[in-house]
């Protein structure tokens, strides 16, 4: 009892000087609408929890990590293999990054669906958009600090995008890289951004974000028909918190607490089971056998960069993000009042769905990258026996040419090979012999011309083989201008047909 009294006295001594007890108590116990004590409202606090963990693990990594182009990669190996629990701290930080991006996105979707960005919480949303950008910025710069092949070529992609900015492209590239090439000063720059600049901004903006949540109150559960009007909303909200309100702590806070605990547990489990991310190959640009790929949350961008129409690419690359971010920031100014419930905002909900489906589709494409030639297919995937059976010697020679000239890198046979161009298992049903010759020698669309790289004999053999590629039941393609509508025995006997 005596000890308790001493502690209370000690706390009192501090509080008479700091005078924080009362405002903290008030903030904790401020009244919020009862219906916000819901599992739908836990993602913001979970993002904050993960951010704090990222600070802790990030500081731990800084004890060992060396931000030098020559030694960063080696210091990561030391962390992974020599430092006690180094691998685990790296795993926590890497998985924490993924968790944080995911939670911030889910939080944003929830806020949008519940109309929480509307009056009077417009600025809270705008700051939230900046926080999303900072989170993505942390994820990208963090990927650079994992200074491996992917990081090196990822920086190359960044420099190439900067180099497309009109007039000031070159100075921008140099400012980004901290010099003329991707090297030591580039890594130092990204280290400063990742460790000092963005975290500092995150702390400041998260503070502002939370302050506004406190001052303006947590958005009530939206009811269809309960429309936000500037003239009446504040009064209505105040009445709601009085009539049907609860204290934030402990009544609404319980679920946040439980969910945050679950997230930390999930993080620890992921880090333990799956371990740290990379580093992959050393950041040595002379090793050109690199297949650079960004981290998961940037795969959709990687896919979009392959699929944008080339003639609009620069414009879309430079203007697209400005428009997208501008729209997100301006959103509460465009629709700051009106219905909050998702049940009464079908267009908005369809937009969310469209964005989610598009990002998921792009991400999925990014994982398989079908637009990229499969560099080793020509030497690692034999032509399926089924597609060689019954062929003449010339046709088989054509199959050899097909492999040797690396056609397989872009064209699949029997489901194996690149997907850059169409699969050729049935090409003879689509193109006639004449068309095949022209396509191979001159190229068309996305296909390069092979005229200079094939001797006439090779071309003859290759086209003979391609003409044999159709299933037994299908007639090969024919030139309608040269033959009558009824197939003659001569045209239908074109190729062995199996």
């Amino acid at each position: 009892m005596r000890l308790t009294k001493d502690l209370v006295d000690l706390a009192g001594w501090f509080d008479r000087r700091l005078q924080l007890g009362k405002p903290i108590k008030e903030a904790m116990e401020h009244r919020v609408p009862r219906n916000t004590a819901s599992w739908a409202y836990v993602f913001g606090s979970a993002s904050l929890t993960v951010m704090i963990l990222q600070f802790v693990t990030g500081i731990c990594l800084a004890f060992v990590y060396v931000p030098s182009a020559a030694q960063a990669w080696t210091s990561l190996q030391v962390l992974n293999h020599e430092q006690s629990f180094g691998w685990f701290i790296r795993a926590l930080h890497g998985w924490g990054s993924n968790f944080m991006v995911a939670l911030v996105l889910i939080h944003m979707i929830q806020v949008f669906m519940f109309g929480a960005y509307k009056f009077p919480r417009e600025l809270t949303w705008m700051v939230g958009v900046l926080l999303l950008l900072m989170t993505l910025g942390m994820a990208f710069t963090g990927q650079v600090l994992r200074f491996d092949q992917d990081a090196y070529w990822g920086l190359g992609i960044g420099a190439s995008i900067m180099g497309r900015v009109p007039l000031i492209g070159t100075p921008l590239v140099h400012a980004m890289l901290g010099g003329p090439i991707i090297a030591g000063e580039t890594l130092s720059r990204f280290f400063a951004i990742h460790v000092f600049i963005v975290p500092g901004m995150l702390i400041a903006f998260v503070g502002v974000h939370l302050l506004m949540v406190l001052k303006l109150g947590i958005n009530e559960w939206p009811m269809p028909g309960r429309v936000v009007k500037r003239s009446t909303y504040l009064k209505e909200y105040h009445e709601l918190t009085q009539k049907d309100g609860v204290r934030f702590v402990p009544d609404a806070f319980r679920k946040d607490l439980v969910f945050s605990g679950l997230i930390i547990l999930a993080l620890v489990v992921c880090a333990t089971l799956f371990g740290p991310f990379g580093p992959k190959g050393q950041p040595d640009p002379t090793v050109v056998q690199a297949v650079p790929k960004p981290d998961y949350f940037f795969l959709w961008m990687y896919a979009a960069l392959a699929l944008l129409p080339p003639n609009m690419e620069t414009v879309l690359l430079l203007v697209g993000p400005v428009i997208a971010i501008g729209f997100l920031i301006a959103l509460p100014l465009i629709s700051g009042t009106g219905e909050k419930s998702w049940r009464r905002r079908p267009v908005a909900m369809l937009c969310v769905l469209l964005i989610i489906v598009s990002l998921a589709a792009f991400t999925h494409l990014g994982t398989s990258a079908p637009w990229s030639p499969e560099m080793n297919a020509w030497s690692s995937e034999p032509v399926p026996a089924k597609l060689l059976a019954g062929r003449s010697a010339l046709e088989r020679q054509g199959a050899v040419v097909f492999q040797a000239k690396q056609c397989r890198n872009c064209h699949a046979l029997g489901g194996k090979g690149g997907q850059r161009g169409p699969a050729l298992d049935n090409v003879a049903t689509r193109l006639t012999g004449e068309e095949l010759v022209r396509q191979v020698l001159q190229g068309r669309g996305n296909m390069p011309a092979y005229g200079k790289n094939l001797s006439p004999a090779e071309t003859t053999a290759l086209v003979a083989y391609l003409k044999s590629l159709h299933s037994p039941g299908e007639a090969p393609a024919r030139d309608a201008s040269l033959v009558s509508a009824v197939p003659t025995p001569e045209t239908s006997a074109d190729g062995p047909g199996h």
Partner: protein, 198 residues
């Protein structure tokens, strides 16, 4: 019961006369101006420091002739990978200071030296002698043996370095990461708008 010292010590705003305000206001104005001047003096070197690498004078210094090796390393009619140490390096650059490029020897003294970077987004292109193509692993760009764009998203052919042959050595003018805004050929540094010249 916490003693609220702040409340007790709060001084009432003085009901200043016009004369007093003017003197105090002058000090205030002076203070603001002084800090503005000091702030600018502080900020100029900071901005100059951060954007130092972007200064045109600095950028010109970065280009230099570097050797790729002797002529005998590059057989006629072949395209070979060559590497050089970037002319502008820091002691802590490590492997990142070694830059690769593709050297195509057309005839005895006719060369083409291509940058490793795809003109689309800078990924490392690979040479496939069998099909006579450069292929990019990122977004499916392909180029012919002479560097011309063959297919995919690249907006132009491969970047080329200026080269010369001296004392049996192949030299190229290099030092900067090639981008659309800054192709490596010197002719383009002076005329950045005519980038296709590279």
């Amino acid at each position: 019961m916490p003693e609220n010292t702040q409340e007790a010590e709060r001084v009432q705003e003085p009901q200043a006369t016009a004369k007093k305000v003017s003197r105090r206001q002058m000090l205030m104005t002076f203070g603001v101006a002084l800090n503005a001047v000091a702030g600018v003096l502080f900020a100029i070197p900071v901005v100059g420091y951060i954007f130092g690498p972007s200064r045109r004078k600095e950028m010109k210094k970065e280009l230099a002739w570097v050797t790729l090796g002797s002529l005998t390393q590059f057989p006629e009619g072949e395209t070979r990978l060559a590497t050089y140490r970037n002319p502008f390096v820091r002691p802590w650059d490590g492997d990142t200071g070694n830059i690769p490029c593709w050297v195509r020897r057309i005839s005895a003294d006719k060369f083409q030296v291509f940058a490793i970077n795809c003109t689309h987004l800078g990924c490392p292109v690979r040479w496939f002698p069998q099909s006579g193509l450069f292929m990019c692993p990122c977004h499916g760009g392909a180029y012919y043996a002479d560097g011309a764009r063959a297919s995919g998203p690249p907006p132009r052919g491969l970047f080329k370095y200026d080269f010369k042959i001296e004392g049996g050595q192949v030299l190229i003018k290099a030092g900067q990461v090639p981008t659309l805004a800054q192709p490596p050929s010197q002719a383009c540094l002076d005329q950045p708008r005519r980038c296709e010249c590279a």
